[in-house]
């Protein structure tokens, strides 16, 4: 149950739908309920008008044209469509795709699927700061490469990949560039032309819009072609059939419009809050590591490792904060975060990580309460941590022969 004391600090998982967005959506559930694809009566025309306005709003935030926006059910579908759609369409000519090990599971799993179908995938590793090495990318591109898919902002650690450089490299090589921008849109300025992006995935619920809607930008000049995943009435230029959910489209459009208008101001405010959180914690606690520290990052994400305190145990101690942990124990696999492991974060530190996500409705009071709770819980848990005790006694944990189980 959510109580009034509960503080939401998990804005990378999802965001609340902005009430201004909900307000715009409401008439399209009841009064303006027409099928936007009904071409022969005013009910259809009104719905179509709303959907097309939303398409313009979505296009605008990434510097695209409205015709280049395909509505989908969310970023997972967008990523699936981009990867499988391009792979499927160009498979006679090219069969190689490049991505990176810290991508979202929906990109990695789609790539695994394509591998089973005979495509060749290169998974680029990342540097200690979470960014790909551009030289490695350059080396990986070959004549058979059809697509490079590199996320704009990492969902776990918030680092921003060098989109402009990647885009230029891809364009020079005649390779399509897809970016999963679910965590980036509305947080950093994106321009598909300046960055030479050919395909870009957007999620509604990460930007204060509704869940169940997303978009895929598909470049028209030079044209990118896709094989549809969902066949039917040929909506969305034949790339994604199915009746558009008018209220959700309107919601995504409005969310983009608000984000575009308020992004610069909001970024400054959130940066101040995240700085306050970081310094508030590190001023009182030693051995706290910021994961992905030496890379450009979005302000709303702080992924911290609290050495010698296990992440899930810590989450139990800060139960009034809704945060996310990179620790194994929250999953059934018992493996710590693959993203943190890919950065070279030692397993023991990966087990101690907590992701704090700040956003539009975060307040100074939230942050101050979070600092207080975290410091209290970490102090208590370190006092009962055998690892902390050993380190205080001057024992190097690496010299102990642990019985891994």
């Amino acid at each position: 149950m959510i109580t009034s004391q509960q503080i939401y600090l998990d804005y990378q998982a999802t965001t609340p739908c902005d009430s201004r967005v909900v307000e715009k959506m409401l008439p399209y559930f009841t009064h303006v309920f027409g099928n936007p694809h009904s071409r022969n009566h005013p009910h259809g025309w009104s719905a179509e008008e709303a959907v097309e306005k939303a398409r313009v709003q979505v296009a605008s935030i990434i510097g695209a044209e409205a015709k280049e926006i395909i509505f989908t059910s969310g970023a997972t579908e967008s990523n699936n469509l981009a990867l499988k759609g391009v792979a499927g369409f160009y498979k006679e000519k090219k069969n190689h795709i490049i991505t990176c090990v810290t991508e979202h599971k929906c990109v990695l799993d789609t790539c695994r699927h394509l591998e089973q179908e005979g495509f060749l995938i290169t998974y680029l590793s990342v540097q200690k700061n979470g960014l790909i090495d551009l030289n490695e990318l350059q080396k990986a591109i070959r004549p058979e490469t059809v697509l490079v898919s590199i996320m704009a902002v990492n969902n776990e650690i918030g680092v921003i990949q060098p989109l402009t450089e990647i885009g230029k490299m891809c364009r020079d090589a005649g390779v399509f560039f897809h970016t999963d921008a679910a965590q980036a849109v509305g947080k950093i300025p994106i321009n598909v032309d300046a960055m030479n992006i050919d395909l870009l995935s957007i999620s509604g619920h990460k930007i204060y819009g509704p869940k169940g809607i997303g978009a895929l930008y598909v470049r028209r000049k030079p044209r990118v072609r896709l094989q549809a995943l969902i066949n039917g009435g040929g909506q969305e230029r034949g790339m994604r059939s199915g009746t558009l959910p008018t209220p959700l489209c309107v919601g995504l459009g409005e969310a983009c419009a608000l984000a575009q208008k308020e992004m610069s101001e909001e970024s400054v405010r959130i940066k101040a809050l995240s700085d306050r959180l970081y310094t508030g914690i590190t001023r009182q606690l030693t051995d706290v590591h910021l994961n992905g520290a030496d890379a450009p990052r979005i302000p709303g994400n702080l992924n911290l490792s609290f050495a010698y305190v296990e992440g899930e145990g810590l989450m139990m101690g800060i139960k009034e904060l809704s945060v996310s942990s990179g620790s194994a124990c929250t999953s059934s696999s018992l493996e710590p975060s693959y993203v943190l492991r890919a950065l070279g974060v030692e397993e023991e530190l990966a087990h101690t990580s907590i992701r704090f996500g700040l956003g539009r409705f975060s307040t100074r009071e939230d942050v101050d309460k979070a600092i207080e709770e975290v410091v209290k819980a970490v102090t208590k848990l370190r006092a009962m941590s055998p690892l902390w005790e050993m380190v205080q006694e001057g024992i190097d944990l690496k010299n102990i022969k642990w019985a891994e189980h």
């Binding site: 030692e346 087990h351 642990w402």
Partner: protein
């Protein structure tokens, strides 16, 4: 994931947190688990002349279930002979705390910690007898 009320109770009010001098001959220390696996337990027993565990302490790095398992087992070993303590099974811990399947390893670790502490105590005791001879 929701925790059982017993896990929450042990997590919030852990029993017997602390440490004994590990060089004390009446103390047995067990250190099990690994930081890379996300849980490490240190469990210590203090054994009196009659061979009864008169006190126990623990420190644990791990999730709430791991902390609760070690807290509970320190309560259970107190007042028991080494043989009785040796006989405590992880399934009893798991059952008492209502641990879900994914957390059973926490109770196994607690059982292992007790066994390791007893082994350490016995090894030290055997060593001291040798010295006396």
């Amino acid at each position: 994931m929701a925790y059982s009320s017993k896990v929450i109770d042990h997590y919030e009010n852990p029993r017997n947190v602390g440490a004994f001098d590990k060089n004390d001959l009446t103390v047995g220390t067990g250190l099990v688990g690994a930081p890379a696996c996300g849980d490490v337990m240190k469990l210590q027993i203090k054994v009196n002349k009659e061979g009864i565990i008169e006190d126990a302490k623990f420190k644990t790095f791990g999730c709430g279930s791991a902390i609760a398992s070690s807290s509970l087992i320190t309560e259970w070993v107190k007042g028991k002979t080494l043989e009785e303590a040796q006989a405590i099974r992880n399934t009893e811990v798991a059952q008492h705390l209502a641990l879900p399947p994914v957390k059973i390893h926490c109770s196994i670790l607690a059982e292992d910690a007790v066994k390791a502490a007893i082994a350490d105590y016995q090894a030290k005791a055997a060593g001291s007898i040798d010295k006396v001879k």
